[in-house]
Subunit: 362 residues, 2 copies
DNA sequence: TATGATGGATAAAAGGTTTTATCAACCGTC
DNA sequence: GACGGTTGATAAAACCTTTTATCCATCATA
């Protein structure tokens, strides 16, 4: 169907080799006269020749394509925003270097090796690497280089990791809140995520920092967020006087803000809220959300660059890059005032000045 | 480097043909005995054979890959959320059918034909198709099927479109607001987007619906959103008494909400706000945003399905699918009350009950 | 004993490109 | 006149798979 080198060669009255040389360079022992070259170019132009990159890839075993592996892409638009940011960062860097991006989702753990080594990609970036031992082994011996993005690094396998210092990030939160005078902080976790390496690192950091700052923190201060609207009200009514909340991710933090608002609990006057993952989303809440920033865009780009290097100069020693987190202080945190202690008021009906949003009646 | 059919064939002591037949079926005149088959399977297993899909694609000229073209992917994480939703919908449908997805960004308009026809993809979905005549011509004669997603359809070119009824969507907004008693509505546009077919369709719908509902609407009621914090305050101070705002997209709507909040303007008591594109984002604002919903996830999936059909049964007649919009009424709209007329109060310092979020002091 | 069907397997072409090795011709030099 | 260097160009292999055409037995039927 398509126009091939052969067609162009015939049209120009030369060999395939000549056309290949003129149009795509390389081939050191092949020399072409100026006139022949222009004739070839003219013919290619006239026939609208488009090189078949599949054939080229077969020959060169290079596709100039990088695969991005998402453990659960299914919910890209519903998940926390940093999934989008990772994709964004990786894509930006790839495109800048004229690489193509293909997305792999729900890669079977049994056939990881196969999927990655079928020749379609030159390398892969794996977001949120799973922990299964055999998967890691497959990856470590994969025929293409693989970089783990945004996964706390296990120590043993021979892979390169780009992640952030989750433990340090959690510490920032404690430091910030305790500097503002908060003593009791609720840690809001998400079901199903609590055994990922990232989550455990954050919780670990939080625990230790509390200990060092002499803040009381027990198992009871960890709650699991369900999507139930009443949860916040229940908690607010029945819990000891926490004045701070640390939400393990941005989406949960947003939910806390909204529920607080609906219950007439004023943030940050009555309650300070901090989230993990300072994303554009945090700018859109009201009040804007104080949150731990992992430089995710930078990390994603870095992961891509590591791959480029591996592909250019052969595989490097596996390394672990850990980016420090910072804290973006916004409007959702404020000093703990003594006045907050007398906060046991009815919460069933919002007595705040803002209407219950769901009802929307004046 | 990799293990090939040839290696397996040698290991099993049979021909390449036999291995190919056993491992990948097809080839009608090839028959294999049970014992031979098991021997082959065993050898393949032992050698960890992974079929080279590039070679296969070259032979079959099928890649089982669909390209998704984004005009400006550069800002995926900053742009309105429906870009993510489109990606999500397309991806879901592709993966469900075991297609691969590759993302193309900033495709050169000069070489559209080439990029799409280099054999890497079986088909493409183009989000926000540009209007240039020559680009459309190239696409219409492309060697692979192309579907335009979320682009108001020009009438002439021979392409298949999946889009929504932008004009009708805008009408819904007018109907809703006028039913609530609003008379003056501000249309908030975004610079640089105002000459896209979608934008003009929305504005057209809005204009006509106002006319039919006998609402006054002039050119002065169209403002362009800049990212300046003072814009809302300026507008609120100097404009005639609008009681409604229609923001051309979700992100702008969110910004309006925030600015209103900061200026102590209460939504929906003082002002009703409606956005275009009802996305998960609209659930997270406070109050939650009333917005026009285009069934974007459904549309994206449909676009993918159209491609599948083209690929299976040969090209179809080009068609135009237009999805109706609906209105998701949330908390940001409320009846226009007479009390609002006396609203000329100072706005420089927020006198609302909520603290200025940026300062965050109690 | 032909004839024909069937089961089991293979050779070889095709798909489009890259790249090495080879070749022909020409010019200049010793 | 033999040799060497340079320019211009090509043939052909290799990359790995799919698929058709072909082949050889074997066995049943007429």
């Amino acid at each position: 169907m398509g126009v091939t080198l052969k067609d162009v060669a015939e049209a120009a009255g030369v060999s395939i080799t000549a056309v290949s040389k003129v149009l795509h360079g390389s081939g050191k022992s092949v020399r072409i006269a100026k006139e022949t070259e222009t004739a070839i170019r003219e013919a290619a132009q006239r026939l609208q020749y488009v090189p078949n990159s599949v054939a080229r890839s077969l020959r060169t075993s290079r596709t100039r394509t990088i695969g991005l592996v998402f453990e659960n892409f299914g919910s890209l638009s519903e998940g926390p925003m940093y999934y989008v940011l990772m994709l964004d960062g990786v894509a930006q860097e790839l495109f800048r270097n004229h690489y193509r991006l293909t997305i792999l989702a729900e890669v079977s753990h049994k056939h990881v090796g196969g999927t990655l080594s079928d020749g379609r990609m030159d390398g892969a970036i794996w977001c949120k690497l799973p922990m299964e031992e055999d998967v890691l082994a497959q990856l470590a011996h994969s025929r293409i280089p693989v970089v783990a993005l945004n996964t706390e690094a296990p120590t043993h396998p021979r892979l390169t990791y780009v992640s952030c210092d989750n433990e340090g990030g959690a510490r920032l939160v404690v430091d910030h809140l305790s500097a503002l005078g908060h003593r009791r902080v609720l840690y809001v976790m998400e079901t199903g995520e609590d055994d990922t390496p990232d989550a455990t690192a954050r919780l670990r950091g939080f625990r230790r920092a509390c200990q060092e700052a002499c803040l009381p923190f027990t198992e009871d201060d960890i709650v699991f967020w369900n999507r139930d609207a009443s949860q916040f009200a229940d908690w607010w009514r029945s819990y000891p006087p926490h004045t701070g909340v640390f939400a393990w991710n941005e989406r949960v933090a947003g939910a806390v803000l909204r529920r607080a608002h609906e219950c007439g609990v004023h943030v940050p006057r009555d309650l300070s809220v901090v989230g993990f993952d300072s994303t554009p989303f945090c700018e859109t809440t009201s009040p804007p959300l104080t949150a731990v920033r992992q430089p995710i865009l930078e990390m994603a780009k870095h992961a891509a660059r590591i791959l480029f290097e591996s592909l250019d100069k052969g595989p490097d020693e596996p390394r672990v890059f850990t980016y420090p987190c910072t804290l973006d202080v916004r409007g959702s945190t404020a000093p703990a005032a003594a006045v907050r202690r007398n906060r046991r008021k009815p919460v069933e009906t919002s007595n705040g000045p803002i209407l219950d949003a769901e009802r929307g009646n004046p």
